[in-house]
């Protein structure tokens, strides 16, 4: 008996070591969705930093007064670890009724059949004015699962005072001008070893997307229902070469083996030794925490194209709204989406500096010089491949980041880096 117990204890120790990583199995009981009665509470999950509190406060009050007896349980979620949290929540008995999902994550959830089919309600939700770049991300197999919420895209944010001192009259309108302006800035301020004309970290793959698309390339192309990566195409290679050209021309000291969030590029810009960076308008507010004068000194221009006079396509980041199939109040949830997608709240979203998802009226953005540039560029917005497996790329190991680091550090040749990344991406989404 004693022997047996010791053996059990030893085995238990080994089990403890691995069982912790395993995760639980979920319920085996086949719970039928939408059968449960409404409990009078509408649970809404929006992400941090999306809709401002004034908007959601007014929205929830209006919804509650229009639906007597219904209480809106509004909860703000963090982006970090949201995929796991949603997975757990959607599988549970008490699923939220309205959720916000990042546009690149939406196909993964839609393809697994865990979101309610909203195809019949598109017209009720202002369907005619949906933002094209987001609309596609909410569709799967010809059905609509996600309603565009808002989008934001990147532009070049620059120091107006530095441009003036370097004798640059107007922001660049082509890649060649952009490179020339970098040289001018370097000539003027280069004596300061900490100065960088353009801050560009090595793994800023959202910027790379712009350059790849501008050169006629793409990340992957749809091949029936599956995807085939096209990172080894001539256009993709040209985009990667231009990225390196920018890094070399600027002599940026940004890490080549990390992305724009590590360290946060707005913080570096806030240090006052950077003339330009590629970012979203809200990043200037972060930089202004270090140096409040930056708000007035910062201007914006769209990411230039290789073709003079045009602008490069931009990656449209943003969110969709969806209703989980396990929601107990799907009709109420649709009413909530209807209210949110109406002109009143979409205008408020625009005023908060976002491109609204279900309204083409972006006049509220025009009052802000940085946001108006973004809104114009958003018309040329594009999305990552609408593969259900794209979530794996972003939540796991991103081959585009590895490709950038390998090429920029000279570890791999252009052909080697692109063909390796192509194979790695095929393995993930192919």
């Amino acid at each position: 008996m004693k022997r047996w117990l010791k053996l059990a204890a030893g085995a238990a120790a080994v089990t403890l070591a691995t069982a912790g990583c395993a995760g639980s199995g979920g319920t085996d009981a086949g719970a039928a969705p939408s059968a449960a009665p409404s409990d009078g509470t509408l649970t809404v999950w929006l992400m941090t930093g999306s809709a401002p509190d004034t908007l959601t406060g007014a929205l929830n009050t209006e919804f509650e007064s229009a639906h007597p007896g219904v209480k809106v349980k509004y909860e703000v979620q963090q982006w970090n670890g949201i995929q796991q949290k949603l997975t757990t929540a959607l599988a549970g008995d008490d699923a939220p009724d309205v959720i916000e999902i990042g546009n690149t994550q939406t196909p993964a959830f839609a393809s697994q059949g865990v979101l309610a089919d909203l195809s019949g309600s598109v017209n009720d939700l202002n369907g005619a004015q949906w933002l094209a770049g987001l609309k596609a991300s909410g569709e799967f197999d010809g059905k609509t699962y996600g309603v565009p919420f808002y989008a934001a895209n990147r532009e070049v944010l620059y120091r107006k005072d530095m441009f003036e001192q370097a004798g640059i009259a107007a922001p660049p309108t082509s890649d060649a001008e952009w490179i020339a302006d970098i040289a001018k800035l370097k000539a003027k301020f280069g004596s300061d070893p900490d100065f960088q004309p353009l801050y560009l970290p090595g793994q800023y793959w959202y910027s790379l997307l712009s350059f790849i698309w501008d050169n006629g390339g793409d990340v992957a192309k749809a091949d029936g229902k599956s995807f085939k990566s096209t990172l080894d195409s001539a256009g993709a290679k040209a985009g990667l070469e231009f990225y390196k050209q920018l890094v070399d021309a600027s002599g940026t000291t940004a890490p080549k083996d990390n992305d724009e969030a590590n360290p946060a590029q707005a913080g570096i810009y806030g240090g006052g030794k950077v003339a330009m960076f590629i970012g979203a308008p809200y990043e200037v507010a972060t930089a202004a925490k270090t140096d409040p004068s930056l708000t007035a000194k910062t201007g914006a221009f769209p990411i230039p194209s290789k073709t003079a006079g045009q602008t490069a396509p931009v990656f449209l980041g943003g969110s969709n709204l969806a209703i989980p199939v396990n929601s107990k109040d799907q009709a109420l949830a649709k009413d909530y989406l209807k209210l949110l997608s109406g002109a009143k709240y979409q205008t408020q979203l625009a005023a908060a500096g976002y491109v609204p998802g279900t309204s083409t009226d972006v006049s509220a953005l025009d009052s802000d010089p940085l946001a108006s540039v973004m809104a114009k560029a958003s018309k040329n917005g594009r999305a990552v491949p609408a593969s259900p497996k794209w979530g794996d790329v972003e939540s796991g190991q991103n081959p585009l980041k590895d490709m950038l680091t390998a090429y920029l550090t000279g570890k791999k040749s252009l052909d080697q880096a692109t063909s390796d990344a192509n194979a790695a991406l095929d393995k993930l989404i192919g």
Partner: protein
């Protein structure tokens, strides 16, 4: 030797043999007493392990999780995992990494323990406090500090090396290959693992009486001989225990590896726990990731089989 130093009689010698004819109740009492602990172990460890085994034979993606359907796929998850060449590459990498880190932890830990034995009281306390601080710092905090130290542009390591005359390290990327990334991660785990090993071994070392060292000195033993003849026998069982524990901890280490480079670049620092996470949490293939977890469990059982064997055989927990 003074008479008082005579060791007390062994407890076994003085124990009274159980009398025959005791009631059956009295004989079952000890087993009843350990029953709660046994139930806790079975519920908290046995049940999840059975669940894990069950899931590894199922297709459990997000769809199955949400709809609650049970789809049995037999050995498909195992076949897929075992036929993937990347899995074997990751397995070998994990084993080599674990072996290297465990070996380094034991050697450095032993060295620090011996050092503590020979240091003066003040310096020793300073060293001990330092070790406790290194040990007590949260894993992610230490990981962040290491990331800053090894940063390509702003890291103190590259700047220091540059000052020392190694100008090649200006802008040197420590995370550009899997091997150098794993080396940094290994140093990080070593940093966090040494204090426990050092303290445990030190506890064993102070159990050896001064007289034994004096006797060895009188016999003319060198420091090396003294270590093997006096110190080593005292700490050998403890060494076995800490190496077993270190293998368990280092084989399944996740947080540090993930936080440094998410198993990159190009998957070059991906270990088994990382691939488990990528399959399960990042891609929502819970069945396939359960298969990897089960394979890890089997590997750990094989690696530590010898220890379990010793544990079962030993009469008085005397491991050697």
């Amino acid at each position: 030797m003074p008479a008082g130093a005579t060791p007390p009689a062994s407890p076994r010698a003085s124990s009274v043999k159980p009398k025959r004819g005791r009631g059956i109740g009295e004989r079952t009492v000890p087993y009843l007493l350990i029953l709660p602990a046994l139930v806790a172990v079975l519920v908290l460890l046995g049940w999840p392990t059975l669940q894990l085994l069950g899931i590894s034979f199922r297709k459990l993606d997000l769809r199955e999780l949400v709809t609650g359907k049970t789809v049995w796929v037999g050995f498909d998850n195992y076949k897929q995992t075992l036929s993937d060449p990347a899995f074997w590459e990751i397995t070998v990498r994990t084993l080599v990494f674990t072996a290297a880190v465990v070996l380094a932890t034991l050697i450095v830990g032993l060295f620090v323990a011996l050092l503590m034995r020979h240091l003066g009281p003040v310096v020793r306390v300073v060293l001990q406090v330092t070790l406790v601080l290194a040990w007590a710092t949260p894993v992610i905090a230490t990981t962040t500090v290491f990331q800053w130290m090894f940063d390509q542009q702003y890291g103190i390591l590259n700047k220091t090396l540059d000052r020392l005359g190694f100008h090649g390290f200006i802008g040197f990327s420590w995370f550009s290959t899997g091997t150098s990334t794993l080396t940094v991660i290994g140093l990080l785990i070593l940093w966090q693992g040494v204090p426990f090993v050092a303290f445990t071994l030190y506890a064993g070392l102070i159990g050896v009486s001064k007289e034994q060292y004096e006797a060895a000195g009188i016999d003319g033993a060198s420091a090396w001989q003294t270590f093997w003849a006096v110190s080593w026998p005292a700490i050998r069982p403890i060494m076995t225990m800490v190496s077993f524990l270190s293998v368990l901890w280092d084989f399944k280490v996740f947080a540090q590896v993930w936080a440094i480079r998410q198993g990159g670049p190009d998957g070059g620092s991906t270990t088994l726990p990382i691939s488990l996470y990528l399959k399960g949490i990042a891609s929502s293939h819970f069945g396939a990731s359960a298969a990897i977890a089960t394979l890890m469990l089997i590997m750990l059982t094989l690696i530590t089989a010898r220890y379990v064997q010793l544990l079962v055989r030993s009469k008085e927990a005397d491991l050697s």
